[in-house]
Amino acid sequence: MTFNIINKKSFIEIPKAIIFDTDNTLYPYKPSHKVALKAAINKASKILSISESEFKKAYLISREEVKYRLGEVASSHSRLLYFQRAIEILGLQSQILLSLDLEQTYWRTFLQNSELFPNVIELLKILKKQNIKTAIVTDLTAQIQFRKIIYFGLEDYFDYIVTSEESGKDKPFQNSFELVLKKLDIEANKCWMIGDSFNSDMVGSNKLGIVSIHKKERSHFFKKEVSYVDAEFSEFKSLQDFFISNIF
């Protein structure tokens, strides 16, 4: 699919900066998460001598509980807290070492199975060449998001990073978007926001006046309020071609 411009007014000049979401935007999140969670559950079930389904059930309850208790903040995504609480729900008290072990097993397997979408690096190289600033705005804790960026070898391509741990609130709250604009020192309408989540990335950024570009999944056709989306694409190659052709 080509780079589909919905709101032509937003694309009359080259952006000064592009802000990227991370999970499911720069790399496919779901397949890695699925394998990683399976590995962690498998390990937990072996160590604790319980069935995988039993641990998974406890994990899901724990996840909901943690999310409900903490609200939309970075630590509400902490796998360490999910595993810690899941073990507690199973009546085995807080097993600190095991919780850490399961968290590391999860992230290790996650990284092992993660691969950037094609042409991400090529696009970032073009942006560098065209002197367009780049930033990441992402939910979750800084530690693991930084690790992911380094694992993918992207640390040199981004000028700034803002995590919800730093801003205090997850997207679509505007804390992260406001903070990144402050760091970039660029007006909102001169920035693009690329993300996969309609609610978190598109609505949140668009309300601040940032040009919002939706990274669509190939098989993802959901009805949305077009007014929040200025453009859409499914493959970074199309965005890369867009910048190479220099249509501005």
Binding site: L100, Q104, Y151
Partner: protein, 675 residues
């Protein structure tokens, strides 16, 4: 992911479209004249010996020179074709359609196997395999069946790559049962498994399952008269003697000689890796088809291997293989029967008298050039070839109880006991255990060790000088020196192995162990083999010798407790440790730092000395063996061939030490290669 990439490629749909057009509109003449007759007869007259049943009904002995496997793969859809054909009163066309669809499924399976082998080269696979004019012509236009055994063989190689040796032996047996000529791959595979000490354990299961399958699918059927006549008695087998030179009444058969030379060359390499195995097998198949009369089906034997090469070679190589494929079609097209078009009735320019000597010469030329390039590139780019000439020599030095043996054992866990030759300098002590000199002399004194002998042994081991070693047999027995052939890694441990320059130069990698003094003291107390009490007393006397050794080392490992204030018996407990590493060459330190932070989440402090590009890195944090395994995969994927089938990775600092040594090996191998 791979399937998505395949489906997102327009070239895939182009290839699929071409295939569907051929299957629907073209009926290969050999399907009508040969294969269909046999398959239809076998379906209509089920028998243990379908070949005999077919012959006794006046069938052509050349109709189906294949075994049960081919019949089993091709019958189901032909059967459906036959049923539908009986409805439309055109069983020949519909059974041929069934055969074509069978091959479409087989062909697509081949594409999937290739995408598993080369997940990052999907577009190339589609170009070289799915759009191969040779494959499309031979399978869908001419109608030959050789794609099936070739892809079963590819599946066997895929199992080998995935280290599923028993399954691989089983699949190789099936491939040979499908087409006897696939047996060409067996000698190379056996050499590969036998020569690699770490894979030798897989030799038996491979042989067992290969023999088991061969017995049931090839040997037992050979008792059937029909099978003997049609499959084993096929006149095509004599083609291996087609390429020959005659003089003075003698005839020299070139193909068997060239094939034997290839086997010999691989055997002489002493050690081969998977890439070399694929190259040798591919070259042998390619040479075979060049030295036999041009038969369309046979050209597919080498196709999977040519794709392996085409993906890895440079642009010139890719172009040569594409040219070879196109010229093969130009040569084969007028020489063979081709297809009948259901609209235009006849769609071939078959002329058995066609003289294509010129085209054949071009193909021969291209084939020989490809073989030469393939051979040269496989060997030149092969770390194993470099190592088979000279094993990698790692020296681990450090004072007594510094963890030399522990590191050596941890490295053995990674490379496999059978691939490592451990030389312990303690066996080169000048005085025997009962000598009074042993009691009075200091262990720190380098003059108490016969470093000259150690140097000689290292020299002989490094250059795989077996004759010399066997001459020294008596000496070797005394040293308990392994009589087996040396393998890829020599690890020499000792307190003074870098003390003499001439000895230090023998090592490709020099590691010095320098744990914190108080940690070493408590390790010593904990050890059952307590060292002399005078160790600390005279350690100052020999301080300079250790300092000199540290200076020449590539890596210095220094293990310390995270809490440096700990003292006394607390140190004997399992306490958190941190690792301080000095790198004489900081070239890979940045990569290592990033990987350690991203994968293991450790705390890390690295300082690079820009005067000489050395570095000091301090690492602390809990690291699991699984993290170390992923680090190895991430940082040094090419080293997988050197590792044990099931490498044992350590936790924490000892695991990080394993990784650092592997990185240094990778760096050293690259230096050797660049030289």
């Amino acid at each position: 992911m791979n399937i998505n990439s395949i489906f997102s490629s327009k070239s895939f749909y182009l290839g699929l479209f071409i295939r569907v057009i051929f299957i629907i509109f073209f009926v290969p003449i050999i399907h009508i004249d040969l294969f269909n007759n046999f398959i239809i007869h076998s379906i209509q007259n089920p028998s243990i010996d379908p070949w005999d049943s077919f012959l006794s009904n006046g069938g052509d002995p050349l109709s189906f020179p294949y075994g049960y496997i081919m019949l089993a793969f091709l019958s189901p859809l032909s059967f459906f074709g036959l049923i539908i054909g009986s409805i439309f009163n055109n069983s020949i066309y519909f059974s041929s359609l069934g055969l074509g669809l069978s091959f479409l499924l087989i062909d697509y399976s081949g594409l999937l196997i290739f995408s598993k082998i080369f997940p990052k080269n999907i577009n190339e696979i589609i170009s070289y395999y799915w759009l191969s004019p040779l494959l499309i012509y031979v399978t869908y236009f001419h109608g030959q069946l050789d794609l099936l055994p070739s892809l079963i063989m590819l599946c066997g190689f895929f199992c080998l790559m995935k280290r599923k040796f028993s399954l691989s032996g089983f699949v190789f047996g099936i491939a040979c049962a499908a087409k006897l000529s696939m047996v060409l791959a067996i000698p190379f595979t056996l050499i590969y498994l036998w020569q690699n000490m770490r894979l030798r354990a897989a030799f038996r299961p491979f042989i067992f399952y290969f023999c088991l399958t061969t017995t049931f699918l090839s040997l037992i059927p050979s008792f059937l008269e029909g099978y003997r006549k049609m499959v084993l008695g096929t006149p095509l087998k004599n083609n291996i003697f087609w390429f020959s030179v005659s003089f003075d009444g003698f005839t020299i058969y070139i193909l068997p000689i060239v094939f034997s030379i290839l086997i010999y060359l691989m055997w002489r390499m002493l050690k081969t890796n998977y890439d070399l195995l694929v190259s040798f097998t591919g070259i042998s198949f390619l040479i075979s088809i060049l030295m036999m009369p041009p038969n369309p089906g046979w050209y597919l034997w080498s196709l999977p291997f040519l794709i392996f090469y085409q993906i890895k070679t440079d642009l010139q190589g890719k172009f040569l293989i594409s040219l070879f494929s196109i010229f093969s079609v130009i040569l084969l097209y007028p020489l063979h029967s081709g297809s009948n078009n259901i609209i235009f009735k006849s769609f071939n320019i078959y002329n058995e008298n066609s003289n294509n000597s010129f085209i054949y010469s071009i193909i021969l030329f291209l084939g020989v050039i490809i073989c030469l390039r393939w051979y040269r590139e496989s060997i030149q780019k092969n770390d194993y070839f470099i190592l088979s000439r000279r094993p990698l020599c790692i020296g681990i030095s450090g004072s007594s109880q510094s963890g030399k043996k522990q590191l050596c054992n941890n490295l053995k866990d990674v490379f496999g006991e059978s691939s490592v030759n451990h030389i312990d300098s303690n066996k080169y002590h000048k005085w025997s255990d009962y000598s009074p000199m042993r009691r009075t002399s200091s262990i720190n004194d380098p003059l108490n060790f016969d470093l000259l002998k150690l140097s000689q042994i290292l020299q002989l081991s490094k250059f795989n000088n077996f004759n010399e070693l066997s001459n020294n047999n008596k000496f070797l027995r005394k040293l308990n020196f392994p009589s087996k052939r040396m393998d890829s890694i020599i690890i020499c441990t000792g307190m003074h192995i870098f003390a003499a320059d001439s000895l230090a130069d023998k090592f490709d990698i020099k590691i010095f162990m320098d744990p914190a003094l108080k940690l070493k003291k408590f390790w010593t107390e904990d050890s059952k083999n307590k060292v002399n009490d005078d160790y600390s007393k005279d350690s100052k006397k020999f301080k300079n010798i250790f300092l000199k050794q540290k200076k020449v080392s590539d890596i210095i490992f220094s293990i310390k407790p995270v809490n440096e204030d700990l003292n006394g018996k607390e140190l004997l407990e399992k306490i958190p440790l941190k690792l301080k590493v000095y790198f004489s060459d900081a070239i890979f330190v940045d990569r290592l730092s990033k990987a350690l932070i991203s994968i293991c989440g450790v705390k890390l402090d690295s300082q690079i000395n820009y005067d000489n590009l050395s570095a000091i890195m301090t690492i602390e944090g809990e690291v699991w063996s699984g993290d170390i395994e992923l680090l190895a995969l991430h940082l040094i994927p090419n080293l997988e061939e050197f590792l044990d089938l099931k490498p044992k990775w350590q936790d924490d600092v000892f695991g990080i030490m394993q990784i650092i040594v592997l990185l240094q090996i990778d760096h050293t191998l690259n230096k050797v290669y660049l030289k």
